[in-house]
Symmetry: C2
Subunit: 137 residues, 2 copies
DNA sequence: TATAACGTTGACGTTAACGTAAACTTTGAC
DNA sequence: GTCAAAGTTTACGTTAACGTCAACGTTATA
């Protein structure tokens, strides 16, 4: 008995903190392919993973289209040589973009650290100032 | 003579690869504050830097509002203790979010590497297959 | 002086990514 | 059997982030 766990739409919605509308929207866009039991959608583990990928993509600022492109890389469509070459190209491009995104984030983290330093100092001074004036009373 | 270099709107647009409409839009949203010579906007270096920050924010998936919040951290508004404490809180939150974004990107980079491996192998096999059949002729 | 080139202010249009509401069906619990 | 919970479709609404005219002013230069 292979474990083909399935999920209802509201289960997935709750698990990932999105609305059912969002999930239906992703299906409408062809990014999820739940089966049906009558009208009701039944999501497989494959769909669950795809949903995770979509949401991770969103967190790092990717559009749904970009997420779709990346997800499509996971299970390559055709088996012809040109397609493989093209896919390798696309992978390299994405990788480069993600690397530069890494740099952007690291830069930002760096300057946030500085800002925190400055703010901490300013707070300390403000507190010193406060205790000074309260001694004066 | 302090160097107060200034820029026209199209200079900045060209430098950063955006349209003038975009820059005007950012001003409209209160994120840039160019001076005026008559009607014409004159951008200072401060505005240039802010524009850079906005665009970096965009690249890592931040909305303009989020960028604004971060930029506002750079020059803290008031000097009161509660504001400093609040600011430190915000800094910590942002930092945490950026860290998890780093993880997301690193994960993605990891799986892209795997995909590339698999694709490279598949391509190699396809090429081998091709030379085989061409020998047969 | 005319004619580009660059600038300006409206103002309406567009796309992505859902939100929201209505009207209806299906189903498990009492 | 009814009724609340969860599901469905259809369809219009909304927001962010600009794009795209139109109609106009200013400046350099040929």
């Amino acid at each position: 008995m292979s474990e083909h766990k399935t999920y209802s739409i509201s289960q997935l919605a709750a698990e990932f903190g999105v609305t059912t509308r969002t999930i239906r929207f992703y299906e409408e866009k062809g990014m999820l392919h739940p089966e049906r039991s009558g009208q009701t959608r039944i999501f497989s583990n494959t769909d669950r993973v795809r949903l995770e990928l979509i949401l991770r993509g969103k967190r790092i600022g990717m559009s749904l289209e970009e997420s779709r492109e990346i997800i499509d890389m996971y299970d390559p469509a055709g088996g012809n040589i040109e397609q493989y070459r093209y896919l390798l190209e696309q992978i390299d491009k994405r990788e480069a973009q993600l690397q530069s995104q890494l740099l952007d984030i690291q830069d930002l983290l760096g300057s946030l650290s500085e800002v925190r330093q400055r703010t901490a100092v300013a707070l300390k001074q403000a507190l010193a100032q406060q205790s000074e004036t309260s001694e004066q009373e």
